[in-house]
């Protein structure tokens, strides 16, 4: 594996929590050849960022590298002195952070920060040479290279431009290795596509070995030839991208792939129950054993080694060969049955405009959602989709036009709406970490609407709360827990229980899975689809994730710059988009199919 010409060789890397000694990252080994992009995929808490930073010999506060080696050329990165590793960083191996908005110094002009990257490594003899080099870098990442632009401060750039500056800085000294840590998370798909294209070109043009860290299989698949999957601090599978997506040899990878929504072909998403063990709580045997459907007794005895299943493919599973040979029977048609929409819309929007302080961000929207129907509202950030959703539930008051519930127009503010209307329309927020009061128990949170809307005795309320928790797959024991004690997926289940506990007719879901890992997202979407069908809800599902629409909605409305540009059945819109914007959006969305094609 560690071919002699590899630009970087990582061997048995181990990073622990300083003090307790619990492993965050362990037994991580891989090599990357010049010009190659290796993808490193993992869900939150898998240790992927810690591993990535360790390649530069760096750890965050509270972590410590205690074992293994990182070799670049003939330099052992982990054995260098402070000064030696300083001279290595940025020149031989560079880093592109996840969030360029906080990684660029807000007090320094971007030109200064770019020049500094050259200066500290003594590259470019004179100021003029450096300025020329900076201009060249700016052109490479498709940014203007004029002095006026370089005199800007980071906050004067858009997110995509900031990330391009980050890329320019990373490639400035022509390093041999570059570590990209989720550089496109938080960017719109269109911007993401451009940034990914830039990374691909630069890595190939300068023969740079790149490690691309991400939680998004589709993004990694569109960029990397080989992909390593991390789970609970270890690499559980390392394989060529297409093989990984089609014939994974580790049960975790298989479930992860099954959880990714597809742009083409409708199918059920399947989540992974349970959650990954955190440092200090990892079991003696295979870390995935607790969640694995194929678990055998010997799995829990000792941590399996990486087994080679084919030339470039290895997996950390005792039954890797058998798992690899499995035929994925889950790839069937989806359960999202397009029930014919009932005649009358339960929720209707007529010529709705909405804005902030006189600036209109939603223009003339006309939509209807029928009972038992799920309408997806898709748009990029800033398209006005969340503003529209909040106007519907009465949280955004600056709007005009009509919003009708069963034909009755609704007041702008939730507070001015009659009690029965407030009960009928419920909202699930994007971020379950923010939508639950950390000072109240799950039970108190779920029963609040029942108490407010009245009509039930204390015992009835208790029973209803238990019933609702069970409906979202939480046991009654959760009622006495605080949100801090719950995982993101569990929190979103509580939020859904709160929304559905008083039998609403309309459910508005605002990006409810965007803060969640892909395996949890699949589980939540599965749950929402099921509840919507069982309870006959009219659902407005707001999302930026186009492939996800397939798995939940019958109709989709595409929103751009505050306008609905396309509205129709999901299959028709995704297969034969009529609008230019929809077409562009589809083309820019990375997916596993395009990755393996």
């Amino acid at each position: 594996m560690s071919a002699p010409e590899a630009a970087i060789v990582v061997d048995d890397l181990r990073v622990v929590v300083a003090g307790t000694g619990h492993d965050i990252v362990d037994e991580v080994s891989f090599a990357i050849a010049p010009g190659e992009v290796l993808g490193l995929v993992g869900e939150s808490g898998s240790g992927k960022t810690t591993a990535a930073l360790a390649l530069l010999g760096h750890t965050r506060r509270g972590a410590r590298i205690t074992g293994g080696s990182v070799r670049i050329g003939d330099q052992q990165v982990l054995e260098l002195s402070r000064d030696q590793s300083r001279r290595l960083r940025g020149r031989v191996i560079s880093y592109v952070p996840q969030d360029p908005a906080s990684a660029l110094n807000p007090a320094l002009r971007i030109g200064t920060q770019l020049t500094e990257a050259l200066e500290v490594h003594g590259i470019g003899g004179s100021g003029d040479e450096r300025r020329a080099r900076v201009a060249e870098m700016m052109r490479e990442v498709a940014l203007p290279d004029d002095p006026a632009y370089l005199r800007r401060y980071p906050h004067e750039l858009s997110g995509g431009q900031q990330q391009r500056v980050g890329l320019a800085m990373a490639f400035a000294c022509r390093p041999r290795v570059i570590v990209l840590d989720e550089p496109t998370t938080g960017l719109d798909v269109t911007t993401q596509a451009h940034v990914l294209g830039t990374v691909r070109e630069l890595a190939a043009a300068h023969r740079v070995a790149a490690l691309y860290v991400s939680h998004d299989l589709a993004v990694v698949g569109s960029l990397a030839a080989r992909v390593a999957v991390m789970y609970a601090g270890r690499i559980v599978e390392l394989a060529p991208a297409d093989e990984l997506f089609q014939a994974a040899a580790h049960p975790y990878t298989r479930r992860l792939v099954a959880a990714v929504p597809h742009l083409e072909g409708r199918r059920d998403l399947v989540g992974i129950p349970g959650r990954a063990p955190s440092p200090g709580q990892r079991p003696g045997g295979c870390s995935f054993a607790l969640r694995c459907t194929m678990v055998q007794e010997e799995c829990t005895l000792a941590m399996p080694d990486l087994r080679v299943v084919s030339e470039a493919h290895s997996a950390r599973c005792l039954f890797a060969e058998q798992v690899r040979a499995l035929v994925d029977e889950r790839r069937g048609p989806a359960g999202v049955v397009a029930e014919p929409a009932a005649a009358d819309s339960v929720l209707a929007l007529n010529g709705v405009n909405a804005g902030y302080m006189g600036l209109t961000v939603v223009h003339d929207v006309n939509l209807g959602v029928a009972p038992r129907e799920c309408l997806a509202l898709v748009g990029e950030s800033g398209s006005g989709k969340t503003t529209l959703a909040r106007a519907i539930v009465g949280l955004h008051r600056e709007r005009s036009g009509e919003i009708l519930l069963k034909g009755r127009p609704l007041a702008r503010a939730a507070r001015s709406r009659p009690r029965d209307v407030r009960r009928s329309i419920q909202y699930v927020f994007q971020n379950p970490y923010g939508s639950l009061n950390p000072r109240r128990t799950v039970g108190q949170i779920v029963r609040q609407p029942l108490e407010l809307f009245g009509g039930r005795s204390g015992r009835e309320i208790d029973r209803r709360v238990d019933e609702m928790l069970a409906r979202v797959s939480l046991t009654a024991a959760y009622a006495s827990q605080y949100p801090d004690q719950l995982s993101g997926g569990e929190r979103q289940r509580v939020a859904i229980a709160r929304a559905l506990v008083c039998n609403p007719e309309v459910l508005v879901c605002d990006e409810v899975t965007s803060a969640l890992d892909v395996s949890v997202q699949a589980a939540i979407v599965e749950l929402l689809g099921e509840l919507q069908r069982d309870l006959g809800l009219a659902m407005l599902f707001v999302t930026h994730n186009l492939p996800l629409v397939r798995s939940i909605a019958q109709r989709v409305a595409v929103m751009s710059s505050g306008r609905i540009v396309e509205l129709g059945p999901v299959d028709r819109v995704l297969q034969e988009p009529a609008d230019d914007y929809t077409r562009r959006l589809l083309a820019d969305t990375p997916s596993l199919e395009t990755a393996t094609a």
Binding site: L53, H58, R61, P97, S102, N105, A107, V120, Y153
Partner: protein
Amino acid sequence: MDSAQSGSPSAGFHPRLGGLAGFIVRRLLLGLLVLAIVSVVVFAATQALPGDPARAILGRSATPDSLKALREQLNLNRPVLTQYGDWVKGLVTGNLGTSLAAREPVSTYLHDRLVNSAFLVFLSAIISIPLSIAIGAYAALKRDRLFDSSASILTLLLAALPEFVVGVTLVVLFATTIFPHLLPGVSNIAPGTEPWTQLKEMILPTLTLVIAVTPYVARIMRASMIEVLESEYVEMARLKGVPEREVVVRHALPNALGPTFQVIAINLAYLAGGVIVVEYVFNYAGIGGALQNAVITRDLPVVQALAMLIAAVYVVLNLLADVATILVTPRLRTRL
């Protein structure tokens, strides 16, 4: 001591008028508004309270004649609004009335004392501001090491002490018991003499104010610096190979100074209040001592004048802090 370390200046970060000049003009207008309301409060608290100020001033033994004379001197016989109007007119034109105790114009009475106090505050400020920034920044760099933890304990203890306790302790240590007569425990600087010619007498009052202000600013500076040192852009600077000294000087310090300006302003303003007690401890002839004396003797014109003066200092310092914060924070500068 004050802890309004919210970081964001109290007002005006959502301006409508463009440019730094526009911002300053708006903040000035707002400051004038605050001062106008302050003048109402001061006037109401001192002159318009229910009861008879003249009797309050002269006490129960006052004769009707002397009460009548004082009422006339304070214009108490006229409608309250007229009294207020005259008083404000006097404030603006510099005619602050006549001191009841000193029997001379308030402006003359306060002039020399103002110079003395200003010099004391100035001396304390130029020592305590760099000192506190240095202690705070260095403690943040040496986080959880010996310097940091000892600075943390020391600043915590000193910040908790009322300044008169500090002042009297210094007198006990350096003027009486332990090092008797090493330093003068009383600063007999007569009004009209130049305080900078008597630096020895300045040492203890200055030291007291420095001890009162430094710990608090140092603690804020440390917190602000730690936040910056943990930021992603500082991590990024290290990851691109910037030498540690440059990381601190170029990337960390400028970003840590912004919030500190606010605190410095609050503490300079606090110095203006702290002098009241400290000047009394050391018998220092400044506005603080004058205020204490005026309160005890119920010399209302002097109390009013000093209240307005100190409030004005507060308003101006807050304005300066807001402007300074904007100047070191490009993000705020361009939002104007």
